[in-house]
């Protein structure tokens, strides 16, 4: 049992399978031999948040106020820091931070740091994501300071990626979907990427690092590792 641990609040449901996958990776990343060694979590799994992809296209309802309301409810439930296993939803990070007084740990920041740590200085980073997250520019901005070349997807590749992500969200975790995403990721490698950032939490439902010849940074897994470290007090919040 850990004496001074922190309760993590998880803004979940975007999508629900990605949230469960994230929780599962938190458990896998925890050194535990009994129930009591595990991290305390409070999760609101709210799949009814309006579509983030539609909002980034200027269509449909803005999800910001709902995401911020979840953050506030998690703080009220005792959460001491927040994480959100959805990359695109980080486009509304400022609304979350305005709604709470506890720290929010960004999946973008930890994934970019991991990609830089895992590749040689100067090597190109491949950014694999969805159209909404690409348009939001979250990763491009976070990578800009590093001076690294960033290989991005074409509009057609982004559209093809979203179409496969939507199949995952509908419950299709087939080899065909995995193979389609792998081919799209390898286009970035063919264009010079030495490390891939998987900037969508649906990807690790069908892809893993063993499928690639370069480093494959799963944003889900990196955030899970950081969450465990903060919750158990082995790493501090910055």
């Amino acid at each position: 049992m850990v004496a001074e641990d922190k309760l993590v609040g998880i803004i979940g449901g975007m999508g629900p399978n990605a949230t469960v996958d994230f929780m599962s990776r938190i458990l896998q990343a925890t050194p535990a031999s009994t129930d009591q060694d595990h991290v305390r979590m409070v999760i609101e799994n709210n799949p009814r948040i309006p579509s983030r992809q539609l909002a980034m296209r200027g269509e449909g309802q803005d999800p910001g106020s709902e995401i911020a309301a979840i953050a506030a409810r998690l703080e009220a439930a005792g959460a001491e820091f927040l994480v959100m296993p959805c990359n695109l939803a980080h486009a509304w990070q400022s609304e979350i931070e305005a709604a709470v007084s506890i720290p929010f740990v960004s999946i973008v920041d930890v994934s970019v740091q991991s990609a830089l740590d895992r590749s040689d200085d100067g090597s190109a980073v491949g950014l694999m994501t969805t159209p909404g997250c690409f348009t939001a520019g979250l990763y491009q901005q976070a990578l800009a300071a590093s001076g690294r070349p960033v290989i991005t997807q074409t509009p057609d590749e982004l559209a093809a990626t979203l179409s496969l992500v939507e199949r995952i969200k509908s419950g299709d975790q087939s080899v065909e979907v995995a193979s389609g995403l792998r081919t799209l990721a390898n286009e970035l490698v063919n264009r010079g990427a030495k490390v891939l950032i998987a900037a969508c939490t649906e990807f690790p439902l069908v892809l893993d690092e063993s499928m690639f010849d370069v480093a494959f940074v799963s944003s889900t897994e990196v955030l899970a590792g950081r969450t465990v470290a903060i919750a158990l007090g082995t790493e501090k919040l910055q």
Copy 2:
């Protein structure tokens, strides 16, 4: 999107892997093609609740007040009904119900109903569980009204079951653990059971129905199905 759905509150963390497995089975049991079709859930995954096995042996701290406090926090977070993917913890159901004004759906009741529905009238039910849950008598009491013969485990079998459950809780989901539990379950079949109730939410982490020649009622899966039906309004709360 479902207009009149109910927010489910999940009392989780006993153990955490069983909670994540339960959530995963909720997602699998939901007819969904987009995020928005899924069930809204709020979960407190609190693995620091004192050991229920120890408490049933009259050792260690009583977990009742902590379990009830979680129930109250979930109600405060907006939950409209509660479920708890841990069989033994239902020994403290009266403390939960005293702490909240929303309905609590018992895993014992739904599993017993499923076992009766899935077997011929009069056939014997095999009860596979842990020593704590056996001592609490939850299933024996719930089955008594049915008039069905109940085949139970010997003290040695219960102890052997707990030892394997503790291995699962430590992260061991090996074939060896699965095989050990399967052998223990088949002892009940050899003694006449025509349907097995898997009355521990750790079992489905390594066992599934395809491993048995008789009906195998996973309490996790039955509760997940009932949770989806109530949340989406296809079944009413009783």
